[in-house]
Symmetry: C2
Subunit: 419 residues, 2 copies
């Protein structure tokens, strides 16, 4: 309404784009449909559907998968998204690792690699590694996904603030990077191929929406508790970014105004209570205070070895310290989630990140806390589930990002040989 940007006007091109996208979306949902059923589902005329489908087949995004003989009448030619339309390369640039994978247009991963970068210093050196791995993935994609399209696009997920307009990494506190024009760098390397750069939580959230726990939900809150606490909101399949693209920084919501100092400068941020390091700190404190725990043995006597997987292992063994720490974390998670549920009224909250490994112990506490803290009407409308993608969440989200971009605007992402 108040948008001073040029409002998109309507013309036949727009109509065509919309309808092409509608067909793609339906095929993504139902995986296999005939032209006739597409006409019924979309409300479009049969002839229109035929024309649209033909165009999508010509672009190789759709293919005929075979006849279906169901009951009387002429059998229907089933249609589906064409996994061989091309391949997608996606990358998570983590704090101490680089994870790259290659997937076909059906979202099936054909290759993956994860490289530790803890020893590597310097932005340029790391970027060099990233580009090398991407090149490798692209080459492998070319041989393992033969046929039509070639490379459709590249996605990069980063733990930092991204300026969407330019695909620039503005600031990544944990990497200590600033103002890196990631999109341009990667795009230049691969002949101008479409490149999507986004915050890791955003990508992971989109991944869960297309491939994971959030499939079919309309208003999804994704919360990733790991090194820090990241968040994302997906509304009707679209990421919600705010004006400048930095929305959903839930980790720095103030939960306790006089709480511990956060490295963002604020006090009592949510992530000082529920991040990985907070949980580990609580555990260490409990043990140092004299409470006995199997964790001492599990950590080999050195409490610096404590980690979420170890704590989970202890919880499995009914270790009292682990259980009480997880319960405290669950309560704190619940407090924040209740506030967010009141603010966003989502139909689903997805809990991701490394802490979700302990989901079995966290979820009941979170649900209980939300139950009494959130407004009844809101709490009743919301489910709370664990993320389905673990380590690959972000990289899979990159695939989802590209898939979604193509499904939304198939005409714009024509397969063409960029390399």
């Amino acid at each position: 309404m108040s948008n001073h940007a040029r409002l998109r006007t309507g013309d036949q091109t727009l109509v065509r784009e919309i309808n092409l996208s509608v067909i793609m979306r339906r095929l993504l949902e139902h995986t296999s449909l005939s032209r006739a059923s597409l006409a019924e589902v979309t409300g479009l005329n049969k002839s229109t559907v035929s024309s649209l489908v033909q165009e999508l087949i010509d672009m190789s995004f759709v293919h005929e998968t075979g006849l279906s003989f169901t009951g009387v009448g002429r059998p229907s030619m089933m249609l589906g998204l064409n996994p061989r339309a091309g391949y997608i390369v996606s990358c998570e640039l983590g704090v101490d690792f680089i994870s790259v994978l290659c997937a076909n247009f059906g979202g099936e991963v054909v290759w993956r690699v994860k490289e530790n970068t803890a020893g590597i210093q310097g932005r340029d050196e790391i970027m060099h590694h990233v580009l090398t791995l991407l090149r490798q993935a692209v080459d492998i994609g070319a041989t393992r996904c033969p046929g039509s399209g070639g490379l459709l696009g590249v996605a990069v997920g980063v733990p930092g603030l991204i300026e969407q307009a330019t695909g620039t990494l503005l600031f990544a506190p944990n990497l200590q990077w600033r103002d890196v024009p990631l999109r341009d760098i990667v795009s230049a390397e691969f002949g101008g191929v479409p490149v999507f750069v986004d915050n890791e939580a955003n990508m992971a959230a989109l991944g869960e929406t297309l491939f994971g726990a959030a499939k079919g939900y309309n208003e999804v809150l994704y919360i990733s508790a790991g090194v820090g606490v990241g968040g994302a909101v997906v509304r009707n399949g679209q990421l919600v970014r705010g004006t400048t693209g930095f929305a959903s920084e839930f980790g720095h919501m103030t939960i306790d105004p006089d709480g511990a100092l956060c490295n963002c400068g604020n006090r009592g941020c949510w992530e000082t209570l529920v991040s990985q390091s907070a949980v580990i700190r609580l555990t260490r404190q409990a043990i140092s205070a004299g409470r006995s725990s199997v964790l001492e043995a599990l950590a080999g006597g050195d409490l610096n070895n404590l980690s979420i997987p170890l704590i989970v292992q202890a919880a499995v063994q009914q270790d009292a310290v682990a259980l009480s720490v997880l319960e405290a974390a669950g309560r704190n998670l619940g407090i924040g989630i209740a506030s967010l549920i009141n603010a966003f009224n989502p139909d689903l909250v997805v809990l991701g990140g490394i802490l979700s490994l302990a989901g079995q112990w966290l979820l009941p506490t979170v649900r209980a806390e939300v139950g009494w803290r959130a407004l009844r009407w809101n709490a009743e409308a919301t489910e709370i589930l664990l993320a389905q993608h673990g380590f690959d969440a972000c990289a899979m989200g990159g695939v989802a990002t590209l898939l979604q971009a193509i499904v939304l605007e198939p005409g714009r992402y024509h397969p063409q040989n960029y390399l």
Copy 2:
């Protein structure tokens, strides 16, 4: 994306609707434009603009306002929204008052009334009063806004949860009402006229976006601190409602997990710290604790008479108690707003409700608190302003709601004589 509802497909009707709306939106923004400049601004062809404008003139939403002689060349016929297209009746159903106003299509208020309902008991009796006042407004509109269209629609704002699909008031804690089919009741009374029912904060926020402080902003957070704390989010001129329509209940965000019990059942809700009653309570406590204040005199010796206007009056006189209470309130407001800024990344936060009377004292503290608590990138992108509409915020928002509905879908709200 994941929306399983029937996706809207494109056809010529859609194109026409879009373009009609684009024209209306441009005219709403710029108030006066020629066909030629509309063509330039929208990118549409001159002939197309002529055709669209003609259709809008036929519906009487647009009219020619006179020739403009600027420089050489044929003078242009200026166009604008036609204030005489019809009139709008809007109503705020408050806890102890009913406020009704009548405005023309230009948003100019031609009549208003506010009735105290503190003495009136019972839902039916109050609804009777509402309908009587609405009828009066409709009659007055008919005489004061003569000409073309007649009654365009009715808006009703309520302090409660509204189910948008049906226009039903599900629950209004302060009115103690449940399940009242407001839209049907009002629509039936006025011959099936379009009726919009919404939460008061939502309406007020939309009012500020169209007529007030938030004009021209893309992502607006509206916060109304009064009896409770209400909120709303307006993104690109559209209200954000969540899945079931209960989003933006910021008042019940947990700020202090072990804080005071809120009447929602939770502890330490934001509104236990920054609502009208919280501020008054703090003031009373300070005075009872022996701090001297001009408020004792202003309240006529009875601290039960304390009110926000009185506290503001005391602040004007540099009263220490009033100033310190307002500073505390500002800090608490800032704490919550900082969290919301991190979560929504708005370009504007609007502070409304009765507490905004003390804006002069609150704003500096709020801004300071936000400055150090919110993430730098987010804080820098956000302005914080006071609402421009005071008592009429909600009712004016109702006018805005209808105006917006018509601007978005002019074809759907053809003036027709409902009565």
